[in-house]
């Protein structure tokens, strides 16, 4: 059946918004701190769907969270969460999707391009999240980095490598579906 690309991408970006929400509940036990799959899905949305539809998926996710759906990390929701200490990380996902999508388009659709794009995206999340955490809590910089950045770096590296590996499998599937359009 001939399905318009717009319709398919609308469904896919809604699906990715739901995946990002479910990612908050999917914890993989690796070492003492379990890895949560939420930001992996944000970066994968940017690469697989592109800047426009990846951004739409993220916008929908933030909108539903702001409306009170329990979709943010740990099953919370509400505008208070976006305005709270960890709100910078949530809002930082928006430029992260833009940066990841743009770099992925420029470098090309290969595993190294994906890894570089996702590293840049993760960096943008920290650039937005860490200063926000400092402003919201009033903690000194060294403590902010200890609480809001250092414990997650190893997990992020693992997630980026795993995401690049997953994208390698998923891109042909998506391309095959898009060819049907």
């Amino acid at each position: 059946m001939n399905i318009s690309k717009e319709l398919r991408m609308t469904v896919y970006s809604s699906m990715f918004a739901a995946l990002i929400s479910v990612g908050a509940y999917l914890a993989i036990p690796i070492g003492p701190v379990p890895i949560v799959l939420q930001n992996i899905f944000v970066l994968m949305a940017a690469i697989l769907l592109g800047t426009k539809w990846g951004g739409a998926a993220l916008g929908l996710y933030l909108f539903m969270g702001a409306c009170g759906f329990p979709v943010f990390a740990g099953g919370t929701g509400g505008i208070g969460r976006i305005l709270g200490p960890t709100g910078g990380y949530l809002l930082g996902y928006i430029p992260a999707v833009l940066v990841t999508g743009l770099i992925s388009d420029k470098i090309g659709k290969n595993i190294f391009g994906d890894i570089i794009a996702m590293f840049a995206g993760s960096l943008v999340v920290y650039i937005a999240g860490v200063p926000w955490l400092k402003l919201a809590t009033g903690m000194p910089w060294d403590k902010v980095f200890i609480v809001g950045m250092y414990p997650f770096i190893i997990g992020d590296i693992l997630k980026i490598v795993a995401a690049a590996y997953c994208i390698k499998f998923l891109r042909p599937l998506l391309d095959k579906n898009m060819d049907k359009s």
Binding site: I3, V11, S14, V22, I40, A66, C67, G75, I79
Partner: protein, 287 residues
């Protein structure tokens, strides 16, 4: 039959299920700000209101607790972490005072010096962990707020249909001409439809991987890949089937909508919810 999660909508005649969804969204918007800044008085009040709403909405509290057992573990974890990080001094708490009468316990005819072990824990671990009254208060407040936000989300999503949310989204987006309202509204209803489906698929994938002992693997990248690839493949296929179903029913953005007044119909009880929310905002601001 699909498993009904606490997030799934179900019908009830209670007022929470009948009030206008726009009222619910506005109240949630303000309540989430109130909860984020609430102290014990506000927390007691909101807990009493939410308990009443849960009871009257016909929730089976035992089942809800069972469904949310992992969430309670997160709440306890959050409480411990916040208590420790917010404390600056040590206080001695007679945690082990009540077991003085048992000097030894016997397991498989091996006598274990319980008091000795507890004294060791007390001297070598607990005395190094800062716990004070401020820390306990902060830990209690933060975990309580977190708990209430989740209960609020459950009350909202279990009492509101996807089509009502879609209509409310279109109504709220009316003042913004540059946003494609109908597409956003469709995405919202798809999102609400996908959420329980994804939780179900994630459980399926996780169980299938456990059955194959994948959880015993040491390689973290493979662990992530083993969950993510099958989950997204399954969900992509479901999404594709949905897109085909929509296209075969001639879906387009200019179709006839269900009349807004059918879905966004004030029940007359909205004023009570608005007044309650305003009262809580004022209590938070001035007390």
């Amino acid at each position: 039959m699909g498993k009904v999660t606490p997030l799934s909508y179900r019908y009830d005649s209670f007022v929470l299920f009948q009030i206008d969804v726009r009222c619910k969204i506005i109240c949630i918007f303000f309540l989430s700000i109130v909860i984020a800044n609430a102290h014990f008085l506000q927390l007691y009040l909101i807990t009493a209101i939410f308990s009443w709403l849960l009871y009257r909405s016909g929730f089976n509290i035992r089942r809800l607790i069972r469904e949310l057992k992992y969430f309670f573990i997160i709440v306890i974890f959050l409480f411990i972490i916040r208590t420790i990080t917010a404390s600056s001094s040590h206080i001695s708490i007679p945690i082990f005072g009540f077991i003085n009468e048992f000097k030894y316990i016997e397991i498989d005819s091996v006598k274990i010096d319980l008091i000795g072990i507890l004294n060791y824990i007390n001297a070598n671990i607990l005395t190094h962990i800062p716990i004070d009254k401020d820390g306990l208060t902060d830990g209690c407040q933060v975990s309580w707020r977190f708990f209430l936000i989740v209960i609020m989300g459950i009350l909202f999503s279990s009492s509101t249909t996807a089509s009502a949310i879609k209509s409310a989204v279109m109504w709220f987006l009316k003042p913004f001409p540059f946003i494609p309202k109908k597409r956003v509204a469709v995405m919202v209803s798809l999102f609400v439809r996908f959420l329980p489906l994804l939780l179900e698929k994630a459980t399926e994938v996780s169980d299938a991987q456990k059955a194959r002992c994948f959880h015993l693997r040491k390689n973290p990248v493979k662990k992530i890949k083993n969950i993510t690839v099958p989950l997204i493949t399954k969900v992509f296929n479901s999404a594709d089937n949905l897109a085909i179903a929509m296209a075969s029913r001639c879906y387009n953005e200019n179709r006839t909508e269900i009349a807004e007044h059918n879905l966004l119909r004030p029940s007359g009880y909205e004023i009570n919810f608005y007044l309650g929310t305003i009262a809580l905002v004022l209590i938070t601001l001035f007390i």
